[in-house]
Amino acid sequence: MREAGIKDDEIVRCRDGSPLSPAQAARRRWLAVLARASLAELEAIRGAIEGVIGDHAPPRLLRQPEIGMTMLRGRMGGTGQVFNFSEITMTRCTLQLADGRLGCAYMSGRKKNEARLAALIDALLQDPDHGERLIALAIDPLSAEQAARARQRVDKSAPTKVEFFTLVRGENPA
């Protein structure tokens, strides 16, 4: 279990119903981290990656950064039938490196520059030689920081936790 907001890998399934491969689970994790990163954080990640792999050929943009909406779906009673709740702004971008690696970014909000950068980082992180090192260098620290931030937000409410006592009316037991 990672944190409440993000689903565990075990319960996530591919479109065809199969469980995620380790590579897919890793990519799913870094895409979630990139979707929450600021422009400055993304710039820093790109810098760190390029420090390891050096120059790379410029990617081809298959889909330029695009702002739109996605319909947020809920469930009746939290667990029941699906309904369309409301919309949320989203930015997406997809590019491809010359060797075929596909980089994509989908993030909530209106963030064209962030999406373009995140898509490039997604492609670069799929590096066959340096992948694990790049993740340890560029993703893990930010992931920990994001988890701590989320935790901190929840923890702020901790002192407001209450114990209600029922006052017994009438005769108290002896």
Binding site: G5, C14, L31, A35, V82
Partner: protein, 363 residues
């Protein structure tokens, strides 16, 4: 009947100029920034997002600034803006059971597993004006710096309703695969009878005041439904989509939501034993009053489905859903300001004739 009128361009331009001036107010007072509105008028932002039906804090804050704080006008601006954005798809259903909760209360169980967490609430405040807030800058306590390194993951918290449903005394909410047939008011206009999916979508964007009044009416006896606030939870939920070019779903960020589950008595029918039923409310961020009112009205609109007599306003789906949208209501009420000269001349003519006839008859 509406007739086109010409002219007035200069007067309209001057009115807009004056509006801009009034919006700014006294130039000696510092101008509000979008960030200030987003941060310090956050509940107004929440409401504009819920009823504007678009989650984007900066856009909502901008709309509030442009509308001079008129939230219904700001909601109009957001609804207009959203029509300029392409629809890029649908998310996977959110899982509010995995909410990173900042508030969670139950009025039905004091010892709810996971505990009751009040969070940032107006409840239990004394509703006395706090004049220290009027002394700008004087009241700000230094921000706390909680430890950044709490390594424990946020635990998922079971819903009160899940516990009751597991016991069988609350009607379960089960996932029926509705496929592509989920109603979407942004694509197909509302039609009656409206199913619960369409009703919930309409209520989610409905005017808070209207729903609040209707919810209140159910408590006062117009379609009694004996509600209990089974659980209210507020916090962040991650949003997932299934992109076309990837075989697996991905997480695109978080939304803050308030979920309210109302629990109501139900006498049962020939087929179902007496049990609790529920009404469901969902609103962006801290829209708690809205989520509660929505849950009350959702439950009252289920009267027909549960075989109850439906004779109160809050149980009449057509009445509720056709009048709950403040954009439509505001538009139709305010259109009365537009020229109706020809209409009125016709009415005037009729009236004069009738009066003349009456006079003649009297003579």
């Amino acid at each position: 009947m509406y007739v086109a009128v010409k002219g007035g361009e200069r007067a309209i331009a001057a009115a807009h100029q004056l509006l801009a001036e009034e919006r700014r107010g006294d130039p000696a007072v510092p101008e509000l920034s979008i960030a200030q509105i987003e941060q310090q008028m956050s509940l107004a932002v929440d409401r504009v997002m819920s009823e504007g039906a678009l989650y984007d804090r900066d856009l909502a804050a901008l709309a509030i600034k442009q509308a001079r704080g008129d939230l219904v006008e700001a909601i109009f601006l957001i609804r207009a803006y959203r029509t300029t954005l392409p629809r890029l798809g649908y998310t996977l259903p959110i899982d509010t059971g995995r909410m990173a909760m900042r508030r969670r209360i139950s009025a039905t169980f004091k010892d709810v597993p996971g505990g009751q967490v009040l969070g940032p609430t107006f409840d239990y405040t004394h509703r006395l004006l706090d004049f220290t807030l009027a002394a700008e800058g004087a009241n700000v306590s230094p921000p706390q710096q909680p430890s950044i390194n709490n390594p424990a993951p946020i635990p998922p918290m079971p819903r009160v309703t899940d516990i009751l449903a597991a016991e069988g005394i609350l009607a379960p909410e089960v996932d029926i695969d509705a496929g592509d047939t989920i109603a979407d008011l942004t694509r197909e206009p509302l039609a009656f009878p409206a199913d619960r999916d369409a009703r919930l979508q309409a209520l989610a964007r409905a005017d808070e005041g209207f729903l609040l009044g209707l919810g209140y009416s159910t408590q006062r006896g117009y379609g009694r439904s004996h509600p209990f606030a089974g659980e209210i939870r507020m916090g962040a939920v991650s949003v997932e989509i299934q992109p076309e070019e990837l075989p697996f779903p991905i997480d695109i960020g978080e939304v803050e939501l308030t979920e309210c589950q109302m629990i109501n008595q139900f006498k049962g029918t020939a087929e179902t034993p007496p049990q609790f039923t529920r009404g469901y409310g969902l609103a962006f961020c801290q829209g708690e009053r809205k989520a509660m009112a929505m849950a009350l009205v959702d439950r009252s609109l289920r009267a027909a489905e549960l075989g109850e007599t439906a004779d109160s306003p809050a149980q009449d789906a057509e009445f509720v859903l056709c009048h709950c949208d403040n954009l439509e209501a505001s538009g139709f009420v305010q259109h009365l300001k537009l020229p109706h000269y020809v209409d009125f001349q016709a009415e005037l003519g009729t009236l004069r004739t009738l009066r003349a006839e009456r006079r003649e008859a009297a003579e």
